[in-house]
């Protein structure tokens, strides 16, 4: 799942011209045999790992990744090399690498392609990363719905073990490496890094309070590095070609390339790997083939469902990098771009979005557990057309009070899209006020004390209170 962008910067960098780009991570995904170890070895696979494991100083590898400016591809965009640098040393405990393949952010389906079609690319990245952070055990956590991905990755781990790339004394060195694949079972919250760790530990996917960050105390209370599948897959290429090679693409602060997932009202939805910093409108038109016939753009969700919406005017100004989107009040997130056309009912869209977050809230923190429920119910009132005057203000109030008050960012992930819908599509909320006849309801004393009931009473007159008692629920 996506997290809050690190530091929003107001200035939007100058857009780069559109240039064709040869994919790096997704280059072989159309080959039917690309998931086999034979195919991977034939294209020079595991050579980079063989050259560096047991030979290169781990600090050099960390420095290379730090120099490359690689940023986490899971959503938060935190610099990967810097994260590795935070790893607690000399604790006497084992160090773990946890690869996040939960990919639960709606609109994102990039890791699926790496896992299903090129799993050895990920494993080579895991081997190099484990050598760089001196970890002997890597966990790869996949969402339970990735059935083919799990089968292919398990087969890949088995094949790599047989070749001596994973196991005791890999590549004939004294370095041991265990790789364990764990399947999730349908919980969005396990995409949050500490939620994923809780799940690997055999519990419900409850996120943990940070600090301590996983780099200090993570999996089994040991120092742990958590990285996204795409981030780890990038490591091989950066180590192979060097930091400067990676920096030839992208912007100064967002170097490199990234896999974007395009869905919604475009002619050619799909997965495209492009250099960071290209214009979003070019991406939609050149790769996605533009909007479907007879439709115009109403809004774009730029980085998975939790990213605030962009209006068509903002899309014109937007480039695909972390700073540009942060400057526009949104985020690049996990790179799931969804185009909404002019026929989309925004009230249905926001209701659907809020239902998702209410369903996926783990229930640990009150602002999130209750807040997402409030957002869903109020969004449903607008969707069904029986909202009361002031319900939109209440939505804004609930959303504002959810942000930054919970253990993880799921509350923010739910509140941010709501705030952006309110900001850009407020007239559509107001249009639904009192559109459909209000549903008759037995009121209780409990209703009297809620803000919604007070406001309803102001609008519709005082309700008749039939039953009194705080425990009553209607």
């Amino acid at each position: 799942m996506a997290e809050t962008p690190a530091t929003p910067t107001p200035e939007v960098p100058a857009p780069k011209p559109f240039v064709p780009f040869e994919p790096v991570l997704t280059r072989y995904i159309h080959d039917p045999d690309a998931h086999t170890i034979e195919h991977f070895l034939a294209r020079g696979g595991y050579e980079t790992a063989r050259r560096h494991v047991g030979v290169t100083d781990p600090a050099t590898l960390v420095a290379t990744v730090k120099d490359s400016g690689l940023r986490g591809r899971g959503g938060a965009g935190f610099p990967t090399g810097m994260k590795w640098g935070f790893l607690a040393k000399g604790t006497g405990k084992p160090t773990y690498l946890a690869v996040n393949g939960d990919e639960s952010e709606p609109g994102t389906h990039k890791d699926r392609h790496i896992l299903e079609k090129d799993p050895h690319q990920l494993l080579e990245g895991v081997i190099l990363t484990c050598w760089a952070i001196q970890s002997n055990h890597a966990f790869i956590y996949l969402r339970g719905e990735f059935i083919l991905g799990y089968q292919r990755l398990e087969a890949a781990v088995k094949a790599a073990k047989e070749k001596g790339f994973i196991g005791k004394g890999i590549f004939g060195t004294g370095f041991d490496l265990k790789v364990t694949v764990v399947r999730g079972a349908g919980a969005y919250i396990c995409g949050e890094e500490t939620g994923m760790l809780s799940s690997i530990e055999g519990g419900r996917g409850y996120p943990k309070i940070k600090p301590p960050f996983p780099a200090v105390s993570g999996l089994f209370k040991c120092p742990t590095i958590v990285n996204n599948v795409e981030t780890i897959a990038n490591v091989t290429h950066i180590v192979k070609h060097g930091a400067d090679w990676h920096k030839q693409w992208g912007t100064e602060k967002s170097p490199g390339y990234k896999i974007f997932c395009l869905s919604g009202a475009v002619k050619k939805p799909g997965v495209y790997e492009v250099p960071l910093g290209i214009r979003m409108i070019d991406f939609i038109n050149e790769y996605g083939g533009g909007l479907v016939e007879g439709r115009t753009m109403k809004a774009v969700i730029p980085g998975g469902l939790s990213a605030p919406l962009l209006t068509p005017e903002m899309v014109e100004k937007c480039t695909l990098d972390y700073e540009s989107l942060a400057g526009l009040g949104s985020m690049l997130g996990s790179g799931g771009i969804t185009v909404l056309h002019d026929g989309v009912d925004m009230m249905s869209a926001i209701y659907n979005t809020m239902r998702f977050y209410h369903h996926e809230s783990c229930g640990q923190c009150t602002p999130c557990r209750e807040g997402t429920g409030w957002l869903e119910k109020l969004a449903h009132k607008h969707h069904a057309g029986h909202a009361a005057a002031g319900d939109a203000d209440l939505l804004a109030d609930v959303a504002k009070n959810m942000r930054g008050r919970t253990i993880c960012v799921l509350a923010d992930a739910a509140a941010m899209p709501m705030q952006s819908y309110l900001q850009h599509f407020r007239p559509e909320f107001d249009k639904r006020v009192g559109e459909a006849p209000r549903v008759a309801k037995v009121r209780t004393a409990r209703d009297e004390i809620t803000p919604a009931a007070k406001r309803d009473a102001a609008v519709h007159g005082a309700p008749s209170v039939e039953k009194v008692g705080m425990g009553d629920r209607t």
Binding site: P94, E103, S104, E105, P106, G107, T108, H109, R112, R143, G144, E145, F146, I147, L148, K178, T180, V182, R183, G184, A185, G186, A187, Y188, S199, I200, E201, G202, G203, R204, G205, F220, K221, C261, L262, S263, G264, A265, P269, G270, V271, I301, L305, G336, T338, L340, G343, V344, S348, A349, N352, T353, F356, H359, E360, C362
Partner: protein
């Protein structure tokens, strides 16, 4: 009635994992998958087996199974349809189209199981293939762009495999589907949770949360264990009471939280 057990192959798989995982509790996610594979779904007995193997209490396993929605439960149909209902699939009525087709063929609304237990249908959240809506999973099979003739043909093929026709589910006099009941059975009153005292307090070592639970000094029993709810959500299966894993001598509880 003999108690269910995992097959030797799956038990071997479990013990292979035991070499990889730092403790038994962390194998729970994958153990539940083994149970799901073995028995087709995770029922009360399956939860007890997973709890025994991983050295945790049954209540913890119930908590896991009800938290993670992808585990298959006995109330789900033999063929479990999961239709993605999140925004990217729901745009332009794709989800609704798929659900309408399932309803037309099988008479099922989301959240229902057919009376014969063969089919169930549910709305789920994002299945991560957003460029090809609507996305549908049937148990362990994943499908994209699943609407129109493709979906109809697929449902027909399943019906043919089961020797059924749509009329068996939607025709006049066809039995009405039932709501898919995913609740877990209440634990019997006599059940003592491993690691819990008789008064219900749990001893927990903060410094070593995954290690064995510190035994509570034996004190006279002061509070009666509350009786089970008057109306159990699902009646426990007769003859297979929950066993106290702490009392079992057949399983090794190293790393678990059992209490003498």
């Amino acid at each position: 009635m003999t108690a269910k057990t995992l097959s030797p192959e799956r038990l071997r798989q479990f013990h292979d994992w035991a070499d990889e995982y730092p403790n038994k509790r962390s194998m729970l996610m994958m153990t539940l998958r083994l149970v799901e594979e073995e028995f087709g779904s995770i029922d009360d007995e399956g939860m007890r087996i997973a709890a025994d193997l991983c050295g945790v209490n049954v209540a913890h396993v119930q908590g896991m199974v009800t938290f993670y929605t992808h585990f298959k439960r006995p109330a789900h149909g033999k063929h479990r349809f999961m239709v993605c209902a999140t925004l990217m699939c729901a745009l332009d009525g794709n989800t609704d189209a798929a659900l309408a087709q399932i309803r037309a063929k099988l008479g099922l609304q989301p959240g229902q199981t057919s009376a014969d237990g063969l089919f169930s249908c549910e709305k789920v959240e994002c299945l991560a293939d957003c460029d090809k809506p609507p996305v549908l999973q049937k148990d362990n099979e994943h499908f994209c762009s699943m609407k129109g003739a493709v979906l109809d043909e697929y449902i027909d093929s399943l019906l043919a495999r089961e020797g059924k026709t749509p009329a068996d589910y939607t025709g006049a006099g066809a039995p009405a589907p039932v709501a898919t009941d995913l609740r877990v059975a209440v634990l019997p009153a006599a059940y003592t949770f491993p690691g819990e005292t008789e008064t219900g307090a749990r001893r927990f070592d903060d410094k070593n949360p995954h290690g064995p639970t510190v035994p509570e000094p034996q004190a006279p029993r002061t509070t009666a264990i509350p009786p089970a709810l008057k109306t159990p959500l699902t009646a426990p299966v007769a003859g297979t009471p929950f066993r106290n894993p702490g009392a079992s001598a057949t399983h090794d509880h190293k790393g678990g939280d059992h209490h003498g």
